[in-house]
Amino acid sequence: MGELNVGGKTVAVDEEGYLENRDEWDMDIAKAIAEAEGLEMTDNHWEVVNFLREYYDEYQIAPAVRVLTKAIGKKLGKDKGNSKYLYELFPYGPAKQACKIAGLPKPTGCV
């Protein structure tokens, strides 16, 4: 268990850098996590991150990549609902990396 300091605010994270309490999440924290992962957040990144947060609010889980891909395609259009697009945004895995930035727990089934 570690800590992340963002603009004077300290939040608890687990050994892999996932937020312990997703209610502490805000956009600055997301940016800080993304930066540590070597990513710069664009509108396209935010779109996926916000989608994941909404999915979690509704279903209480982070979706598997296959489910995420299908759901993104349905909501944001076919050109975005494919793994090539999502992996380009999040090279270390859309579910795993985007969930971390979204302040969600690691997706179920992700090792």
Binding site: P63, A64, T108, G109
Partner: protein
């Protein structure tokens, strides 16, 4: 898909108080990634797992019941609930969450996932499986 095995996950315990219900659900979600033929059965106190409008605030544990709604996204759309177990607990299908899936082969029409079956029908369903996992 011809070599896909038929998996049935049998849920028999109340949702909270033990970890069985949540563990079963997580195994189902993980297993769904392997494109097997997955069914779920709810019987005995397991029927309580699907009761709608659950509130766990007083229990201090996470209410994971909204996650059952995601099963359709995971292509898990055969959910059997035993009629006798519902009746013995004074429940009907109207007390349960409305779980649906979109049928890819039918222009993505929204269809019901839950089927209420008798104990005898459930026995036949179990007989037809390759693997039955009980929680």
């Amino acid at each position: 898909m011809s070599d896909a095995k038929r998996f049935l996950y049998v849920n028999r315990k109340a949702p909270y108080g033990t970890i069985y219900a949540l563990e079963s659900l997580e195994v189902v979600l993980i297993g769904a990634a392997f494109e097997q033929d997955v069914s779920l059965a709810f019987l005995d106190d397991g029927v309580f797992e699907l009761v709608k409008d659950q509130n766990t605030e007083e229990l201090g544990v996470k209410n994971f019941s909204p996650t059952y709604k995601a099963l359709g996204d995971y292509d898990v759309n055969k959910i059997y609930v035993e009629k006798e177990s519902l009746e013995a607990r004074g429940l009907t299908i109207d007390d349960l969450q409305h779980l649906t899936y979109e049928d890819e082969d039918d222009d993505w029409a929204e269809k019901d996932s839950i089927r209420v079956v008798t104990a005898a029908e459930l026995a036949e369903i179990m007989e037809a499986q390759d693997i039955v996992l009980s929680f």
